[in-house]
């Protein structure tokens, strides 16, 4: 019985009460040490200026660390594939959400920039500038008929 518990190959077999996979402590410790080393690497990487590369390295290391936690600490490596599918599926939807939000917001950034510059030229914060613009527009409208 003890042999079955320690042997990952046999843990899947249904021996009546054999529920779930038992991950050896040694393997968990190895994964934990790798996670700490990766943390050290990701901090050390910030001392090198790689321009845009820094964020990609940091995110790549974070993805590797997250995968290690999910696969070993959270037993996904031995779990039913459907549980992993739910997990990866939720991350995929977040990625989709981020992609669409970034695409959309980058479209109207020039408008925001222009608005800010215009309000800066008027002097004062954006709300005041907007008010001023509206007042000017109203003034122009009331002036128009008298000019005719």
């Amino acid at each position: 019985m003890a042999d079955n518990e320690h042997n990952p190959l046999h843990a899947h077999d249904d021996h009546g009460h054999g529920v779930g996979h038992i991950v050896p402590i040694k393997l968990l410790v190895v994964v934990g040490v790798v996670l700490l080393i990766l943390t050290w690497i990701t901090v050390a990487a910030t001392y090198f200026d790689l321009g845009d590369g820094n964020i990609y390295i940091a995110l790549a290391i974070a993805v590797i660390k997250a995968s290690l936690v999910a696969l070993f600490f959270m037993h996904l490596r031995w779990d039913r594939p459907f549980n992993g599918f739910i997990f990866v599926g939720s991350i995929a939807f977040v990625a989709l959400f981020i992609a669409f939000a970034l695409t959309d917001s980058s479209q109207y950034q020039p408008d925001i920039k222009e608005y800010r510059i215009t309000s800066d030229l008027k002097g004062g914060d954006s709300v005041d500038a907007q008010k001023k613009l509206e007042e000017t527009a109203a003034q122009l409208q009331t002036d128009a008929p008298s000019a005719e």
């Binding site: 529920v19 200026d49 600490f73 739910i86 030229l121």
Partner: protein
């Protein structure tokens, strides 16, 4: 009940609506993974906000990130990884515990206590980080920040000149254009210390000068007092040393970084506290010897929750503390 008792393979920990312990275990796990999916979507909304703000204003994040303590963040990362490890080990130990002999019970309790210490340690470090930020004046919310229009001037009293930073607007045939023509966004116009009003092209510049001299009438009258400028300058230097908020080089809307920082680490902190409560509950049940190789589902599922807390932090750490 009598019917159940007749089945020797239908133990106490098996709910009546399940056929086998395996079925019960798998159903519990499926439910936990569905819950984890909703957790990821919950944090996902904040990650979207982060991406949009950082994508459109990378300079705010580069500037503000320097006010976060990477050492504290790094220690917290190590603390969470270590407590994740002890939690995963606790699951393994519970799976090997004998229901009668309870031979692994002391180790299970030790591992859960260590995990709980990790949760407490994380929150203590987080508390010091947050209070330090509050002491510096980095509160969330726009009302704690000066209007950026008050910031758009710099001067150098030693050189005896005043620089007015002006925002430029790209134009094509005299009309403002949406596109960036690659021209600098701001230019610094240097003015002599005395009588600058003659070069003021319009009310905008006059207002800016008024802001520099701290006296509306002075700018309009074209007779600024040199002494006033010096006083303001000295005051300004003092503030610069004590309050990062007074930093003239602080980009507009720098507080946006701290808003999303407090929201994301705050929601994560709430999860750490909930995780701590779950681990305490597991500890109580472990003291009573309720977990063993036939029934360890709560340890397993509580562990999954704790690993999610670790997973989120694995992304929060580089996204906030490690911006170059």
């Amino acid at each position: 009940m009598a019917h159940d008792a007749e089945h020797h393979d239908h133990p106490d920990h098996l709910a009546h609506h399940f056929d086998t312990p395996k079925q019960q275990f798998e159903a519990g796990k499926l439910g936990m993974w569905l819950f984890i999916a909703t957790e990821i979507l919950l944090f996902g909304g904040l990650f979207v906000g982060y991406s949009v703000w950082r994508g459109n204003h990378p300079e705010l994040f580069e500037y503000s990130s320097h006010f976060l303590d990477t050492t504290m963040g790094g220690i917290n990362t190590a603390v969470l990884i270590a407590s994740s490890l002890t939690m995963a080990a606790a699951v393994t130990v519970a799976q090997r515990n004998d229901p009668v002999k309870q031979d692994k019970r002391p180790i299970l309790i030790l591992l859960l206590v260590l995990t709980l210490c990790g949760a407490a340690g994380f929150m203590v470090i987080k508390y010091f980080e947050w209070t330090h930020k509050f002491a510096e004046g980095w509160y969330p919310g726009v009302k704690y920040y000066e209007k950026p229009s008050d910031k758009s001037h710099t001067w150098d009293s030693h050189a005896g000149v005043i620089g007015v930073e002006m925002t430029t607007i790209d134009t094509v045939d005299g009309a403002p254009t949406r596109g960036d023509l690659g021209l600098p966004d701001t230019v610094t116009v240097e003015l002599p210390a005395a009588a600058p009003v003659a070069v003021a092209p319009d009310h905008f510049l006059a207002d800016k000068l008024a802001a520099v001299y701290g006296n509306d009438d002075a700018a309009h009258a074209g007779d600024p007092h040199g002494a006033d400028v010096t006083t303001h300058d000295a005051k300004h230097d003092e503030h610069e040393q004590t309050h990062p908020l007074q930093d003239p080089h602080r980009p507009r809307d720098a507080h946006i970084f701290f808003n999303i920082y407090y929201m994301m680490t705050g929601l994560h902190g709430i999860h750490v506290i909930i995780g701590g409560i779950v681990i305490t509950w597991l500890l109580i049940k472990s003291f009573r010897g309720q977990f063993h190789r036939d029934y360890f589902t709560p340890v397993d599922l509580g562990g999954l929750y704790w690993h999610v807390v670790d997973l989120i932090w694995i992304f929060l750490f580089p996204l906030f503390y490690l911006i170059h």
